[in-house]
């Protein structure tokens, strides 16, 4: 039996412990608030007039050290968007496919080994990725970029296209009378396959002949960033797919659905918001990455021509902040200093919004599955 004093001590200890934990938690929350406040505080002095706002968001002339200086950040905002789009195009489909494979296709004992290996991608320091991009990937793109692109194009698209052709010819034949069905399916399949094959070949040849003058470009940065965002995508999406549970799959099989139907029509839609959240997290990973884009993107502050030309160098917000900080910091209070904070604010607001959306999505998945 406890004495009264011991009881009081225990209560005191509990109070202290809880208070300490609360303090630590609120400190980390305060840190977020203060980061936002301090960045905003240094960002707003840049926008001294409407002209500055218009220049920042509307002009592509980025000459911060020239006299007179020009702070048009449009091409840089665009560069960030383009590289992030490219990274998302790599990471999201690939990551979703890998997540599906991990959660529903691979047997458990293999999955045990595959998932940690994928997650290991996240443990490689970004400067190592950047070094690879600059020293290995960029020269390779310059020397045989066309053939590399063409082979990648064929490897990725051939299975997808032929799967689609198969499904389409099946669907088309299903409408016909039973007598001609087998023949019709074969004919439609042959025709579509020939057309698709011809298109693949032509487009591939076009890519094959491409000359890439500079290997540090949006494509390079986007591919490497996509690779870096992959573990986030795989990990979160796989968790979402797992969370849909065995019952859902069993119910679908019981209704006579095949594994493909179960996956595409039941499991993926059920995990939809979780997958979306995974995509958003992957995008945030890509948009905030600095070292790789500084080394791999070429850092030319211009909008590519045409805008989707991934083979042109681009400059991103993060790389600009990292690259210019040393110099701008020496003249604290200058417009160049504040414009970098304005860029940081744009990034911060973007990722806060993304974060909120993904939290919301994840919460929705959890609620729906409960």
């Amino acid at each position: 039996m406890l004495s009264r004093a011991a009881n009081r001590n225990q209560r005191l200890a509990r109070l202290l412990g809880e208070g300490f934990l609360l303090l630590v938690t609120s400190l980390s929350m305060l840190a977020v608030v203060f980061i936002l406040i301090f960045i905003a505080r240094d960002a707003f002095p840049f926008f001294t007039s409407w002209e500055r706002v218009r220049e920042f968001f509307g002009s592509v002339a980025w000459y911060p050290t020239r006299q007179p200086a020009e702070f048009g950040a449009l091409s840089i905002l665009f560069g960030s968007a383009l590289v992030t789009l490219g990274a998302a195009l790599v990471a999201i489909p690939l990551g979703l496919a890998a997540a599906v494979c991990l959660s529903d296709v691979l047997p458990f004992h293999i999955r045990q080994y595959v998932k940690p290996v994928v997650e290991m991608l996240a443990a490689i320091p970004s400067v190592a990725y950047g070094f690879f991009a600059l020293v290995v990937f960029a020269p390779a793109l310059q020397e045989r970029g066309g053939p590399m692109l063409a082979w990648a194009f064929w490897l990725v698209l051939t299975p997808i296209v032929f799967l689609t052709v198969l499904v389409v010819s099946d669907l088309a034949a299903a409408r016909l009378a039973e007598k001609v069905r087998t023949v019709a399916r074969a004919v439609v399949f042959a025709a579509l396959a020939a057309l698709a094959g011809w298109l693949l070949w032509k487009t591939g040849r076009l890519l094959y002949g491409l000359e890439i003058s500079s290997g540090t470009n949006a494509l390079n940065a986007a591919l490497i960033l996509g690779l870096m965002a992959l573990p986030t995508m795989v990990s979160v999406a796989e968790d979402a797919l797992q969370a849909t549970g065995r019952d859902l799959r069993m119910a679908s099989y019981a209704l006579g659905a095949t594994r493909a139907e179960t996956l595409i029509k039941v499991v993926i839609p059920a995990a939809g918001s979780g997958i979306l959240a995974a995509g958003i997290l992957a995008i945030m990973r890509a948009v905030g990455e600095t070292m790789v884009v500084w080394m791999a993107s070429g850092n030319a502050a211009r909008i590519p021509e045409p805008w989707f030309n991934f083979l042109d160098p681009v400059r991103t917000l993060t790389a600009t902040i990292a690259g210019d900080m040393g110099e701008a910091d020496q003249s604290a209070g200058s417009a160049h200093y504040h414009v970098l904070f304005a860029m940081a604010l744009v990034l911060l607001v973007f990722s806060l919004v993304c974060n909120l959306v993904s939290e919301h999505m994840l919460a929705r998945t959890r609620r729906r599955l409960r």
Partner: protein, 272 residues
């Protein structure tokens, strides 16, 4: 570990000793980002030999180096240009006498890929390449390749030198790619057949330097002031520093053999 503690202890001792003597021997250096690395290398070298002297080196731009000498905020002002007349007059108005020490020269080699047949460029052609007027190597007698312009980040003194000496009035083309170090320029130019870049004279290994206005980028030509992309790097002090004092020894390090080695290690041309 023990050794480190010993050294730390010794340093603390010597510091207190120096302070007790009323002579903190603190040297404040401020100014150019280009000269900064030299000033830092000198400071490191000097402090190793004289642990009682404390030298702080800031890099806030040549203008601030001059300002520091004028209003006495620093002992040594580092400048990548000579002081302007207004600055000299302002200093005189404050009864200060800025003394110029030319500690090194900064010469930039213009480099291309070893396979590029272009041997020489005029300074005007070089400017037009970097401002984007000339877009293909064909226009300067090379192969039919789109020129890939590689520049240092606007942060660096190397960029500052190049910009001042070559593209001064114009804008560097928005196609220019920016990289973070001399080594990165070398890496990019070495692996890109259509590239052109500029590096400190010490970084041309594995690359092909082109002649500018027919003059080779050699330390001799830089010293003789023949080579067109070069400039002097200066330290300024208020009055001639007395020999034997920490300040005098520090500023005059550039004349010593070790000082010249330090200058060369930073990629600059030591004075003769």
């Amino acid at each position: 570990m023990k050794k480190q503690i010993l050294i730390a202890g010794l340093m603390a001792l010597s510091l207190t000793a120096a302070q007790a003597a009323g002579d903190p021997k603190k040297i404040v250096v401020d100014g150019s980002t280009t000269v900064g690395p030299i000033a830092k290398a000198f400071a490191e070298y000097y402090m190793k030999a004289h642990p009682d002297v404390n030298i702080t080196v800031s890099e806030s731009g040549s203008g601030n180096g001059a300002k520091g000498i004028i209003n006495g905020a620093c002992d040594v002002g580092t400048l990548s240009r000579a002081m302007k007349t207004e600055e000299l007059e302002a200093a005189k108005g404050k009864k200060r006498n800025p003394v110029q020490h030319t500690i090194a020269f900064d010469g930039l080699a213009v480099v291309v890929h070893p396979s590029n047949p272009v041997q020489s460029l005029s300074k005007d052609q070089l400017r037009d390449i970097f401002t984007g007027e000339i877009k293909s190597w064909q226009e300067v007698g090379g192969p039919n390749l789109k020129i890939v312009v590689i520049s240092r980040d606007t942060n660096s003194g190397t960029y500052e030198t190049f910009h001042e000496q070559v593209t001064k009035a114009g804008r560097i083309t928005d196609r220019a790619e920016y990289v973070g170090s001399n080594g990165a320029v070398r890496q990019r130019v070495q692996s890109t057949p259509a590239a052109i870049g500029y590096v400190g004279l010490a970084f041309t290994e594995g690359l092909k330097p082109v002649t500018i206005n027919g003059i080779e980028a050699t330390p001799e030509n830089v010293l003789a002031k023949k080579y067109p992309i070069s400039r002097g790097l200066f330290m300024y002090t208020a009055g001639e520093p007395a020999a034997g004092t920490a300040l005098g020894d520090y500023v005059n390090l550039y004349k010593a053999a070790d000082g010249k080695k330090l200058v060369a290690e930073q990629g600059f041309v030591p004075v003769q």
